[in-house]
Point group: C2
Chain length 409, copies 2
């Protein structure tokens, strides 16, 4: 772990610092002594509003969040309310803050959102790609020695029938060998946007001799420690069909007396990470920049589990606490393998010192408690999926309950 | 080869049909009996104008081109002057023409253009990606049984130290096997845009059960047969630093009494194809659509050669015709390997019946004749590269001649 004494002069720009991972990371790094500026356009709050969604845990406006952190920690966090899809304000912010590290979470990050329709696909891919290109050009021209730490996703790899490595794979073919980028099979237009970014960043690192780290993160759950001190520091907790992640959703379903809904067979196997480990991974990545020129890739997860196994774990913990809890299979809105091989490597961050918070009963209990605390804010209508990967097929067979729920949500 | 009798009712939309490959393809397919509609926004002509460039061979406006074809062949070609980055006009054109095949050449296709600056990078990637996404959505919603034939590039693969396969590679790793997308290492933001497209098309084919073929084309040279009949049918012939391809440029340099300029060591080895074979490959691809659901990938080239070998071949043929001709090395504006392994597979199109026009002396003589015919239109100032992959480094060391040439071109 980096010595705080050595990092107090380090400036980190957290793009997307108002989001779930971004806010947790900004506070964690601020507590460690990094000088933090958040760059965010607050578009996620707008999307919540226009899609009639809301975080289960109420979140304060960004200025109140930052003021609360100042009061509780004595630390100042800077704020630039700009859109990284526009170059001029981004360049001005980088010119004035001169970050040592740019952490980039500032993207549309929902697979279902990217699959709603053509407009949402284009918005996701064009927006994510343009923001990253703008950051790369700003680094080249303004802060060429800075380190880009970019959030990718384990979903870039898909579910190949061979072991997943960290970014690169040595291939022997017709008697010759090379180490090449790991082949990607992303499962949505959102995941594709992250693959496009990875390819663009790898190229820019090479030709402009930049330092960059790509963090292929698993499915995140839970809450980090720094957001617990005051209601105005609270982090978002998404359980809805667009932005909710699966474990958060299961906990909300259990507390709401709703079956845990497994889409398809549930053999979809994914990698997972506790948000407390996410912030630790960011801390480790920032402290360990690569040499310039070659994109560094870390797989950022701590354990692997199928969706059905995850539902069973939540069910067991919920029942032990006296919550009646059933598991039901529903039609899968995604087109994906529901039974497949899955083994992925995650040794880099462990080797740098990550101490995982594995998903134990205590963590699930804490999440059930969070859901129970905010029980009155649970809107069951937000849970059923309404975006199918093949839009027409899914709409044609979806049940009336979820169709009505969406119409009235 | 497809039987013309069987294809007379086949409708092919040629997106980018006013360009070098697109115009040649439109005429070739029209001659074979396909019903052709060209979709083009004529932006390439605008870029020529704004970058002070021009084709060596003068080209007629698109309406005169089509009228000349009507007079010489008796065949009608439709025209829609629309921009595929805008969905509504594209959808209307597809709705009214109802193509059986959509051939997609309608993209920014120059690597140096994509590297000029941030604006040109974003224009290239956002434009290319949006156009392809729009076409995929229009296929899904309007012509789900149509076949997309998309121009990719061999440059998507880069120069790996193992053999290049056609789109996919079987990988054995830790005792398990899978057939995965071939790992890509593209060498410019333009080439990256084609990789992004390939990934998007593969995904859309899978989840929407579309038919699509990706043609990874080598460096094209020469002229096709159908454009020879009348000056108004003539195809463009680019030799400038932005859009010129290397063999065309060498032939122009030879005729202009300019050294053949090899950038760097010249050991850069690439795949090549005669434009007469390009149009035959399009014909074969259209006649052989894949089953829906899995992107079909063909490598579209006929031979492999290093840039220096190519210069030597042009020099030999030029000298035999009494043209004094030297070869000079110049600083390489690109960041690329100048000596490397290169072996790529191209058996699919050969297996479908492609009869290659290999690069023999006769072909080079014909190209030298073309350059000589239009000698008076050669502008030597357009030849030296002015866009470096590391912009600052290249500008700092470029010689005065090319700097002045660009300023006054």
């Amino acid at each position: 772990m980096p010595n705080v004494e050595n990092v107090t002069s380090k400036r980190v720009m957290v793009v997307g610092g108002d989001g779930y991972c971004g806010w947790a990371t900004a506070l964690h790094l601020s507590r460690l002594g990094y000088e933090i500026t958040i760059v965010d356009n607050l578009i996620r709050r707008h999307w919540d509003a226009t899609h009639l969604l809301d975080s289960l845990i109420p979140i304060a406006p960004i200025d109140r969040r930052i003021a609360a952190w100042q009061r509780s920690s004595g630390k100042t966090i800077g704020l630039q309310l700009i859109d990284v899809r526009e170059y001029a304000p981004l360049a001005a912010a980088i010119e004035s803050f001169r970050p040592d590290t740019i952490v980039h979470f500032g993207q549309q990050r929902s697979a279902p959102f990217s699959m709603i329709d053509r407009e949402h696909t284009v918005l996701t891919q064009v927006g994510n790609l343009t923001g990253t290109l703008n950051i790369l050009y700003a680094m080249r021209d303004i802060v060429p020695n800075a380190h880009l730490v970019k959030l990718g996703t384990m979903g870039e790899y898909g579910t190949p029938n061979i072991d997943i490595e960290e970014g690169y794979i040595e291939i022997e073919h017709n008697g010759r060998k090379d180490v090449l980028p790991y082949p990607k099979q992303p499962g949505s237009f959102y995941h594709l946007s992250k693959v496009h970014d990875s390819d663009n960043i790898a190229f820019a690192s090479r030709v402009w001799n930049l330092r960059a780290t790509d963090l292929n993160q698993g499915v995140v759950y839970g809450l980090s420690e720094e957001t617990a001190g005051h209601p105005d520091l609270a982090n978002r907790f998404d359980y809805d069909a667009l932005f909710g992640t699966v474990l958060n959703r299961f906990c909300v379903e259990a507390v709401a007396g709703h079956p845990l809904t497994v889409y398809g067979a549930g053999g979809q196997t994914r990698s997972f990470i506790d948000l407390r480990d996410t912030v630790a991974c960011l801390e480790l990545s920032i402290a360990n920049p690569p040499a310039p020129g070659r994109l560094q890739v870390f797989n950022q997860f701590t354990e692997i589990c199928s969706v059905f196994e995850l539902a069973e774990r939540v069910q067991r913990v919920a029942r032990a606490r006296g919550i009646a809890c059933t598991i039901e299979h529903r039609e899968n809105p995604r087109i994906e393998r529901e039974a497949h091989y899955y083994k992925a490597k995650n040794t880099s961050l462990l080797g740098l010192g990550l101490q995982p918070h594995l998903l134990d009963d205590r963590t699930i209990e804490t999440m059930l408690d969070i859901a129970a605390t905010h029980r009155g804010r649970i809107s069951p209508a937000l849970i059923p999926p309404h975006v199918g990967w093949d839009a027409r097929a899914f709409e044609a067979t979806t049940n009336d309950e979820s169709a009505v729920a969406h119409a009235t949500s």
